[in-house]
């Protein structure tokens, strides 16, 4: 396979990872050098690696966000495959490790840290204190509320990008990004809960994940408006 790198034609083997510098040059050309540098310096913590968090992590790795912290206590189950970024070979693995393995195949030049742990009000500060962007990607409403409240109350430098309302298959256009508080962005339709008869399906969950990932990208390049 031949590709153009810095105006020169180079041969790349099929399925062979280019060297770090080569990949960086290709990404820089694609993203522009200024955006690429900002993303490379970016550090984002993702709490919850289900339908939102796993897909958000994949998007942030693809655009070259320099450091990701992946936090989840759970293992990959067959029912997750309808919307979460995992494969049959990951069944039974901790989501943290299954996702880290995928990110290494997409962009091995970013730093990925994992914490296989259940997040509670006591460990929020310790887990996320070193980050200025926290992505809330949990499933249960009370855990979402706990994380958002605890992080905003105790970590004055953190901005939270959270989600609420993405179940079912009603219109894509009802999913939005809003900013109800100075340091809180909310993605979703803010209403449609997952419940019997209203399941979580890949398209709408991924639309919401896309909203969160794009808001994080905007924050990393210095755009605070939603």
């Amino acid at each position: 396979m031949q590709v153009a790198v810095n105006g020169k034609i180079k041969d790349l083997g099929k399925g062979v990872m280019p060297a770090a510098e080569e990949l960086e040059n290709m990404m820089m050309a694609r993203h522009t050098p200024t955006v690429h540098q900002k993303l490379k310096q970016g550090r984002v913590a993702i709490a919850g690696l289900g339908g939102l968090g796993s897909n958000i992590a994949v998007m942030l790795a693809r655009i070259g966000v320099g450091q990701l912290l992946l936090v989840d206590f759970d293992i990959v189950e067959p029912s997750n495959l309808n919307r979460q970024s995992y494969y049959i070979r990951h069944l039974g693995m901790p989501k943290t490790l299954a996702l880290k393995e995928q990110l290494a195949e997409i962009n091995p030049f970013i730093r990925v840290e994992t914490q296989t742990i259940r997040v509670d009000a006591e460990n929020v500060v310790k887990l996320f204190g070193g980050y200025s962007i926290l992505c809330e990607a949990f499933d249960k409403p009370e855990v979402k509320a706990m994380l958002v409240s605890t992080a905003l109350a105790n970590l004055p430098h953190i901005t939270v990008v959270a989600a609420s309302g993405m179940a079912g298959f009603s219109s894509s256009n009802r999913i939005t990004t809003t900013r109800p508080m100075k340091r809180l962005y909310m993605c979703g339709d803010l209403a449609t809960a997952a419940e019997p008869g209203m399941g979580l399906l890949a398209p709408r969950v991924q639309i919401c994940a896309g909203h969160q990932a794009n808001m994080i990208l905007r924050l990393l390049v210095g755009q605070a408006e939603c």
Binding site: F138, P141, A145, V148, T150, A153, M181
Partner: protein, 64 residues
Amino acid sequence: MQCNGKTVLLPVPRTLQEFLLEQQYDCQAVAVERNGEIVVRAEYESTQLTDVDCLEIVRFVGGG
């Protein structure tokens, strides 16, 4: 009092917890900002609302 950008009348004194229950919110599934400061769950019961307060209440529903 202002709540989510709308004026709400507070005819009798209320705690934040009483107000949330009255407005049909699940106290376990919200994040609340009062006059620009987050109020954590443990303080809902002891937070007395006044008619000059400005609340922002964000409700979380399940799914992720």
